[in-house]
């Protein structure tokens, strides 16, 4: 009997604390899980901190993006763990709506990553083998990943909606349910609905704030208001309504109680200020890689030879695939422009020393040495010498190659622009290729004129054949350039990169006086202290101006601009060229220039 009693008491002692512990653990578990959720959300807010470049130029082998993806995957795993903890809690406490609120917030936190799947995963797609025109294995990895993320995105959208329903069943006026519902609308890309809903919640809270007197409740309302304004601001950013975004950001900073939201607002303000001056963008547009390649008929101009003498010429056409690979296209575009500048500067450069010497000695122009200088070919001068003709022919062959390169690059950029119409970077490069083609078109006669004087086997080149060659120089892309400029003007009128491109286009396509006024107008849009890749944008605009003053023969302003350019302190071959040319034209009456 005694032992039964002892056993009974032991059972009581052992069971009583256990019963309490099992109930107690739910609250403790919820508290810990809530803390964990806060930390994860804090980490989500840091996901973008390391990214400083959009990587439109070369997405492959980007450590920053890989690091960000790893961090995002870690966060998503942590969210899954916390979610399962709250699911267990909600099953243990079916009437406790707070667990469903936490679960719905977990959905929103996960959506903040899954909804940006392109930005997180796109670099995985960039494993295309252009030489073999095939996609490597990464392509299937990317497709699987992006498919999985899309599925999970939809799962969290649906799950958030169903959890909102549960919360509303318990409390039809629950404010968290309303907030989550607005955020779901945002992640469903219904920005107007999201903004409208958040504004309604703000109005409701402000009314409530006027009614309540308790300090604690006011504090909570202010916290919520600060939080809601940050989200409104973010949604405006995402929908490219920057002015409205800033207004909401200002509102958010008036709620110091919303500590974390306030920190976010202050940081965002600082970033905007920095962006304004340093030409930084505030979003990375996901890059869509073209799934098919365009082909391009590469044209090669060659002479036929008979006993080392030119017996004829032909244009070989060989179709090649255009690699719509930004880094590849950037290289081709820059090289093509480099070649073009070299072609255009070449005769002048070679003549420079000799001409200068003549000026100093008050001698005639050094036409005697055709190795060092071109002699103008015109109706009265068949080219002075064979060497001079050869120079013209080489000049033509070089520019023919440049046309090839620019056209190739243009097709590539155009493919990228079609796949990524909003991407300013690709469109600007497309404009640059067209600008090169346009320049050649404008100056085609200076390249083609040689054929009027060039004989092969003592026979003139037939007009019909010349016509064929001219066709390659007759592409006028000005309307395409203007279309692209208009597109960018509508989208990013204040983007510094665009402003400089617009100056470039004006310099090369407009009448010099008109171009100068365009540049002056655009300069007024550049804020003080602005920088673009560590360069003062006004330095770039002054280079364009010096070109235009030279063209206008406005020597006074040219001298002033050259002095100004020297003042920037940048080392640039162009400046030396301008200075030398200025020396060259110091006594303009000594020369006859074309």
């Amino acid at each position: 009997m005694r032992s039964i009693k002892i056993l009974f008491v032991i059972c009581c002692y052992l069971m009583f604390p256990k019963l309490i512990c099992s109930q107690e653990s739910d609250i403790i578990l919820a508290k810990n899980a809530g803390e964990e959720l806060r930390l994860i959300i804090n980490d989500i807010s840091k996901l973008n901190n390391k990214i400083g470049t959009a990587y439109y130029s070369d997405i492959s082998a980007i450590k920053d993006l890989q690091d960000r993806l790893s961090m995002a995957e870690k966060i998503l795993k942590q969210l899954e763990d916390v979610e399962s903890e709250f699911i267990q809690l909600s099953e243990n406490n079916k009437t406790e709506k707070d667990y469903y609120i936490k679960l719905a917030y977990i959905d929103i936190a996960a959506l903040s990553i899954y909804s940006k799947r392109d930005a997180f995963l796109n670099f995985l797609d960039y494993s295309y083998n252009y030489d073999e025109n095939i996609y490597k294995n990464n392509r299937s990895i990317y497709e699987k990943e992006i498919g999985d993320w899309e599925m999970l995105n939809n799962k969290h959208l649906n799950s958030a909606k169903s959890r909102i329903k549960i919360i509303i069943n318990y409390d039809s006026e629950n404010i968290d349910a309303k907030i989550i519902s607005a955020l779901v609308a945002f992640y469903e890309k219904d920005y107007n609905l999201a903004i409208n809903d958040l504004n309604n919640i703000i109005l409701e809270l402000e009314r409530e704030k006027e009614e309540v007197t308790g300090f604690g409740e006011n504090l909570l309302i202010d916290k919520r208001l600060g939080f809601l304004y940050t989200w409104l601001s973010y949604i405006y950013f995402e929908s490219d309504q920057i002015i409205l975004a800033k207004e909401q950001l200002e509102q958010a900073t008036t709620f110091p109680e919303a500590d974390k939201s306030l920190t976010w607002s202050m940081e965002t303000f600082k970033k905007l200020d920095f962006i304004k001056h340093k030409c930084y963008d505030i979003k990375i547009l996901p890059v869509e890689f073209p799934k098919t390649n365009n082909s391009f008929d590469k044209k090669e101009f060659t002479f036929d030879y008979d006993n080392n003498k030119k017996s004829g010429y032909k244009v070989n056409i060989s179709p090649i695939f255009v690699q719509a690979k930004p880094e590849h296209l950037i290289e081709i575009t820059k090289n093509a422009w480099g070649k073009l500048l070299k072609i255009e500067e070449d005769p002048w450069h070679k003549a420079e020393d000799e001409i200068k010497q003549c000026i100093d000695n008050h001698e005639k122009i050094p036409y005697k040495n055709p190795n060092n200088i071109y002699v103008l070919i015109d109706a009265n001068n068949s080219g002075f010498s064979q060497i001079n003709k050869e120079k013209y022919i080489n000049r033509f062959i070089d520019v023919f190659e440049v046309i090839n390169d620019l056209t190739y690059a243009n097709i590539g950029w155009n493919t990228l622009v079609r796949a990524n119409p909003e991407n300013i970077f690709y469109r600007i490069y497309k404009i640059k290729t067209n600008l090169g083609i346009y320049y050649i078109f404008q100056n085609s006669q200076s390249f083609l004129k040689i054929f009027e004087y060039y004989n092969i086997n003592k026979e003139s080149i037939p007009q019909s054949k010349l016509k064929q060659l001219e066709e390659y120089f007759e592409k006028d892309p000005l309307s395409v350039i203007n279309d692209d400029i208009s597109y960018l003007e509508n989208r990013w009128p204040d983007n510094l990169m665009f402003i400089l491109t617009k100056m470039e286009v004006a310099t090369l396509t407009e009448e010099p006086n008109k171009a100068l006024s365009t540049i002056t107008l655009l300069e007024s849009k550049i804020s003080e202290g602005a920088e673009i890749t560590d360069t003062d944008p006004l330095y770039i605009s002054d280079i364009y101006k010096s070109y235009l003053f030279f063209k206008l023969k406005d020597w006074r302003n040219l001298v002033l601009t050259i002095d100004k350019l020297k003042g920037y302190g940048y080392s640039n071959p162009w400046l030396n060229d301008v200075k030398a040319r200025y020396l060259f034209i110091d006594d303009e009456n000594n020369f006859k220039v074309k």
Binding site: I6, G52, E344, V375
Partner: protein
């Protein structure tokens, strides 16, 4: 004149020839100098970005977390056997405590600890129990009941157990017993007090005290004993009246909170006495409009003023630690 004209003509023609020759010569050898090669273009390396981070979500602590378990919503009294101070009323003490139990139960104001439980605790040889189970259960027993102390007597050990499982102990002392010779009737004088036994500082606090004469009938032959119930009911009612109203009252609220200390808008006028217990409660409605009362935290009154009292929120376990920070001014309270 004609000759002059002819000469002039030749001179003019000669100059024209010279000019034409010079201009022809100069045309012939004009160097081709592209004076205006295009300026170098600006080739951006990429787009520099400063990304706007996602704003943080506001995860608010559940403001209405409630305790998963409370011992009792009413003040829980343990009534151990009376203590016979006269040394001759041993036959009365067990019955007297039983009758008090019934009387207090009928007031519907208190929660009473089961007499059988108390009896079992008393009957069990605690020393034996601890010896038998010490190795495996000592930790649990120590933590929850703290019953074992070798230096304490059995009675003290019992009190210690009761302290941990009740809010107060009704201690009844028989101070005199007057039974008329050859008569079954008698009177006992009792002193009674309710001692709050589980204060945070473990110092006993007397919440209520009194004394009263109670008449009884005792037949030694039949061993039948009956007390005058009226007297005992009067004591029970008096105890009830001295305790504050335990019902939910809309106007009873926290007016201030400093750490774990709260101030409540009730005081002496509401029968509040230092040492008394109460709860912070939240009252919500279910889908059918019924009130659902949740108990968020327990407190013990530490200071009483005429219209207010201060109390300390009792932090017994992790659950309390999680809940107490969420308690805010204006929350409702209810006395235990």
């Amino acid at each position: 004149m004609e000759r002059k004209h002819i000469i002039n003509y030749f001179i003019g023609a000669f100059f024209i020839y010279i000019i034409i020759s010079i201009s022809a010569c100069s045309k012939k050898f004009v160097p081709f100098i592209p004076t205006n090669p295009p300026p170098p273009l600006y080739f951006p390396k990429d787009v520099n970005v400063t990304l706007i981070n996602i704003p943080p979500l506001l995860i608010i602590d559940n403001e209405n977390i409630s305790k998963s378990s409370i011992g009792s919503q009413y003040f829980k009294i343990a009534i151990p056997p009376c203590v016979d101070m006269t040394g001759k009323a041993e036959y009365l003490k067990n019955s007297l405590s039983d009758i008090f139990y019934t009387a207090l139960f009928e007031t519907k104001r208190f929660s009473l600890m089961d007499r059988m439980e108390i009896k079992k605790i008393i009957e069990v040889d605690l020393t034996g129990l601890i010896n038998d189970t010490a190795k495996i259960n000592k930790q649990i027993i120590d933590k929850n009941l703290q019953i074992y102390d070798e230096s304490s007597t059995k009675a003290e050990s019992i009190i210690k157990i009761l302290k941990n499982i009740s809010d107060g102990i009704l201690q009844i002392y028989i101070t005199s017993d007057e039974k008329k010779p050859k008569s079954d009737t008698g009177k006992v004088w009792i002193d009674y007090r309710i001692v709050r036994t589980s204060g945070s500082d473990n110092e006993p606090i007397v919440l209520f005290a009194g004394s009263k004469e109670i008449s009884y009938n005792y037949n030694a032959t039949t061993s039948s004993l009956s007390f005058n119930r009226k007297h005992i009911n009067e004591i029970a009612n008096e105890i009830k009246e001295k305790f504050p109203n335990p019902d939910i009252q809309e106007n009873l609220r926290i007016t201030n909170k400093r750490g774990n200390v709260i101030t409540v808008n009730a005081g002496k006028n509401d029968n509040i006495i230092t040492g008394m217990l109460g709860f912070v409660v939240s009252v919500n409605q279910d889908l059918y409009g019924n009130n659902i009362v949740s108990y968020r935290a327990e407190f013990q009154v530490t200071e009483v003023f005429s219209d207010t009292f201060n109390a300390i929120l009792i932090e017994k376990d992790e659950e309390d630690k999680a809940i107490i920070p969420t308690i805010r001014v204006d929350e409702q309270i209810k006395m235990k």
